[in-house]
């Protein structure tokens, strides 16, 4: 009787151990990003005023529309494929690069969202809504990549997008 009891205890301990060892370490700050709340809507407010919109190739525009539809249907992969096709047409289109950054952000690919947003900023107007979306994306990405100081710095720069005149003006 005693032996049977001991066996049950041992089994319970073993089950607990297995459960412990199979538990994945959970990153503390893992969360999904709401692109509208965290990037697009505030950028619209923040970046109001002077806007510089580079001319866009109509082919790229068509692919952006298709990417929009895919994104609205929740198919981020498909949206990414459309955007990459557009990238092959116009690799330095800042709006396009930012859109890719926003898809990567929603896919929790923070390193790539950071890099695409940074590339968009480099070739972009550095003012207005797009500038603000660039820095907000960078800020959220840095936050997720455990760089709170960098995130805060980017947040400051996104605010400055409205006030700042573009270089060369």
């Amino acid at each position: 009787m005693h032996a049977k009891y001991l066996r049950w205890v041992l089994m319970a301990v073993a089950v607990q151990l297995v459960a412990c060892s199979s538990q994945q370490p959970v990153p503390i700050q893992e969360r999904s990003v709401d692109i509208e709340q965290e990037v697009r809507q505030p950028a619209e407010v923040e970046g109001a005023g002077l806007q510089v919109r580079p001319l866009q190739n109509p082919g790229v525009r068509e692919l952006l529309t298709q990417a929009d539809q895919a994104e609205q249907q929740g198919d981020l992969n498909q949206a990414g494929i459309f955007l990459e096709r557009a990238l092959r047409i116009q690799p330095r289109d800042p709006e396009l690069l930012q859109r890719i950054a926003e898809i990567k952000l929603q896919q929790s690919n923070y390193e790539q969202s950071l890099n695409y947003a940074s590339r968009s900023y480099d070739v972009g107007p550095k003012v207005g809504e797009l500038c603000s979306r660039n820095w907000r994306t960078i800020s959220v990405s840095r936050d997720q990549l455990d760089d709170p100081a960098g995130a805060e710095d980017a947040r400051q720069r996104s605010v400055a997008c409205a006030a700042k005149k573009p270089e060369g003006f």
Binding site: P58, G59, L87, R88, I89, P91, Q112, S118, E167
Partner: protein, 763 residues
């Protein structure tokens, strides 16, 4: 079951016989013996039948789904405003196996009227969905796409189905495109049965009546010409790839045919047959199945075959090489017409139509719709890249589709430059045995658009673009200047080009010299770079230390982690392949955003589902903010530096970032050039690494120009390079001056490192 029969039969027989007849003992023994032998034979026979039946089922099962991986070029995307000449578009369409007609009536055809194109594309499953066949109309004007429409709807974007550039096979494997039975045209499915096996639906693998008829004809003609084989028997023969017609084989064939019929439905057998039947040879590989044959002979999908084309292929089943339409046109035509008649007789085709189709020419394309191993160097790279993720077996059997980055037109230009360009240079300079490796890439996406690994591009073997590692020489210099700029210098910083002596760690002394053996005194960084001065470069590099350059190269994985930062690294004492040089310069050409150079975009399964995608991944290069300055300087290399002859060779004066490279004793000649959207690296040298007497500007640069003289080039708009401010400076000493001063030029600076000294015009 077979074993049971063997044991029972003799026992039963002898028992029955001994009970009814009183016979002498020897007779009983004889009968027993005979019965035993018969039993053994029957048993062995049954075993044999069982064994070969099992074997054929296994083979059949394997063959049904054993499909090689197909490899495609990148699809051509056309959009309004795109640079595209009719010549390039025609080359593109021909590479993709399109056929020119006066009025495109089926997929795979196109028509040209002046600069107006009508293209009937073929259906294709892309990663973003199935694209049906569509009519794309394009109006080109002055080398640009002015208007386009898709299925008569005006639009701004269209995508053509890509050219098939090869397949990955098992050793000795066959070339097949496998389709379900429903995908074959009705006339083909019924036509094959009408010609090869009219009783297919009703027999059990063997058609006794057909066999008797064939035997009668063979007897009366005195030779074995009529096989009388059913489709199932032919299927078996195809599985074992033998045409041996002796009786034993025939017997085995019949047994296997019956076995297949017992195991599989008519539907499955016919489907496999249509996908498996032998219809020709390309190189060492058999063309199997009607779908593949349709692509090979007519460059159209099997669904789009017309009745006379179906008749030809059906006729070729009897003897694919005997009736080869490319080699024996008349014979093939006669055979086709016999088949058309038989279609009419059996009511598959109305008499009148059959007559009409009889009058048509064979309409076989002279060039096969695809050619295997047309791009050995590129295919080699594709294979290497795929091996990182796929087992060889998966690639050879699972019918995957690989969408690559190859641009067939750029590849054709590069190949032509390799063969003709090199011969021309050898003739002009009296050099011999030169070899080359080239890479053309899109620096923003990392797509490798063209790759040449041999001056004879059709020759497979040593892939110089990937495997020939040679000293890069001055090709490294822009990175020395990049580090100097990152350290606070600007392009107008002055550096001494006087003779320099560098003590080495081992006690030796290194005294690098300029190419022209002259000292050029005090020069700006800009001049030192565009004239490729060695002494100034080493002085600059020793200022910040060669270990910084080593670290940069290690970061790009172009230098082993344990390599010592030798000062000679500053002058390119480092061996890289053309592909590695391309990945080095990709960083510059893409404004400091690194991406991996790749030959593959995606791998799809047979249903068009993406198995692997290679998305464009960006990495930020540490000194990226200085890169626009380097790009500006390199465009000056092609205006007044070591590549000043480039505009003349190209016949166009564009802003192209260029760098030449020549190594010790003129063994290697390098040229790297990038535009707004293209990067190309050319190496020329000898395989034995002997002095070739060549310099970057005399061998590799003309080849580079040869590649691009027919390709559209988007030149670099230096004034739109990101993050720069521009000043009028005196070109010689770097002082800020006024616009109208003699010797003044616009030079870019990074904010924060602008020049401070200003002065009026020099008198």
């Amino acid at each position: 079951m077979a074993k049971k029969t063997r044991r029972r039969t003799p026992a039963k027989t002898s028992k029955r016989k001994s009970a009814k007849w009183q016979t002498p003992l020897w007779r009983i023994r004889l009968v027993c013996c005979l019965a035993g032998i018969t039993g053994l034979l029957t048993g062995a026979g049954a075993c044999w039948v069982y064994a070969i039946s099992t074997q054929v089922v296994v083979h059949f099962e394997q063959r049904r789904w054993d499909v090689p991986t197909r490899v495609y070029a990148r699809p051509l995307t056309v959009f309004t405003g795109m640079s595209l000449s009719s010549q390039l578009l025609t080359a593109e369409l021909q590479a993709a196996g399109y056929q020119q007609t006066s009025e495109p009536s089926q997929p795979g055809q196109y028509a040209v009227n002046g600069e107006a194109f009508a293209i009937y594309t073929r259906p294709f499953a892309f990663a973003d969905g199935q694209q049906p066949a569509q009519v794309v109309e394009l109006q080109l004007t002055g080398g640009q796409v002015e208007r386009l429409s898709v299925n008569r709807q005006p639009g701004s974007l269209a995508r053509l189905d890509p050219a098939e550039i090869g397949s990955l096979h098992a050793l000795g494997g066959d070339d097949r495109t496998v389709l379900p039975l429903e995908a074959f045209p009705e006339l083909l499915v019924t036509g094959v049965q009408a010609v090869e096996d009219r009783n297919f639906k009703h027999h059990y693998g063997i058609d006794w009546r057909g066999l008797a008829r064939a035997m009668w004809r063979n007897l009366s003609s005195g030779s074995i010409s009529q096989g009388g084989s059913t489709i199932t028997q032919q299927m078996v023969r195809n599985l074992y790839l033998t045409n041996n017609r002796n009786l034993w084989r025939k017997f085995n064939e019949m047994v296997m045919a019956i076995a297949l019929e017992r195991r599989y439905s008519k539907h499955e057998i016919l489907e496999t047959y249509l996908n498996q039947v032998y219809l020709g040879q390309v190189g060492g590989r058999g063309i199997h199945g009607f779908a593949r044959a349709s692509e090979y002979y007519f460059a159209v999908p099997v669904q789009n075959l017309q009745p006379h084309q179906i008749a030809l292929l059906v006729g070729m089943v009897r003897g694919a090489s005997w009736y080869n339409p490319r080699r024996h046109e008349q014979r093939a035509l006669e055979r086709r017409n016999v088949i058309l008649d038989s279609f009419a007789v059996t009511g598959l085709l109305p008499e009148q139509q059959a007559l009409q189709w009889r009058r048509q020419p064979l309409s076989v394309r002279l060039q096969p719709g695809f050619r295997s191993s047309r791009y050995p160097a590129f295919m080699d790279l594709v294979r290497r890249q795929l091996r990182e993720q796929y087992a060889e077996d998966e690639l050879q059997r699972e019918g995957l589709r690989v969408l690559t980055t190859l641009d067939p037109v750029a590849q054709a230009e590069a190949e032509q430059a390799a063969s003709k360009g090199l011969s021309g240079i050898e003739r002009d300079h009296g050099w011999t045995e030169l070899q080359t490796g080239m890479v053309i890439a899109d620096p923003h996406t990392g797509d490798i658009l063209a790759l040449v690994g041999d001056r004879n591009p059709a020759r497979a073997g040593f892939n110089r673009a990937v495997d020939a590692r040679r000293q890069v020489g001055s090709v490294i210099k822009p990175f020395v200047y990049l580090l100097a700029l990152a350290g606070g210098d600007n392009l107008m910083t002055v550096v001494s080009d006087a003779a320099i002596t560098v003590p080495m760690p081992n006690g030796d002394i290194w005294q690098p010299q300029n190419y022209d053996r002259q000292n050029h005194g005090s020069v700006t960084l800009l001049t030192a770079l565009i004239q490729s001065y060695n002494q100034a470069t080493v002085r600059l590099g020793m200022g910040f230390g060669p270990e910084r350059l080593a670290a940069l190269l290690k970061n790009l994985q172009l230098l082993p982690d344990n390599a010592l930062p030798h000062p000679s690294l500053l002058l390119g004492a480092l061996e890289l392949s053309p592909l590695e040089v391309a990945s080095l310069y990709q960083v510059l050409a893409a404004d400091g955003y690194r991406t991996r150079l790749s030959a593959v975009r995606e791998v799809l399964d047979t249903n068009g589902q993406a198995l692997t995608r290679y998305p464009v991944q960006l990495d930020v290069f540490p000194q990226r903010e200085m890169i626009p300055l380097i790009t500006f300087a390199l465009t000056e290399v092609a205006h007044r530096g070591t590549a000043w002859r480039l505009p003349r060779l190209l016949g166009r004066n564009l802003n192209i970032a260029a760098k030449t490279g020549t190594t010790n004793d003129q063994r290697d000649s390098w040229f790297v050039g990038y535009t707004d959207d293209r990067l190309a690296v050319v190496w020329v040298g000898r395989d034995d690494n002997q002095p070739a007497g060549i310099a970057g500007s005399t061998a590799a640069m003309p080849v580079w120009a040869e590649i691009f003289d027919d390709l559209p080039l988007r030149d670099i708009d230096v004034y739109r390079l990101p993050g720069l401010t521009w000043y009028w400076v005196d070109w010689l000493d770097g002082w800020v001056t006024e616009e109208n001063c003699p010797g003044a030029g616009l030079v870019p600076f990074r904010p924060g490192s602008e020049p401070l000294q200003w002065r009026p015009c020099r008198s």
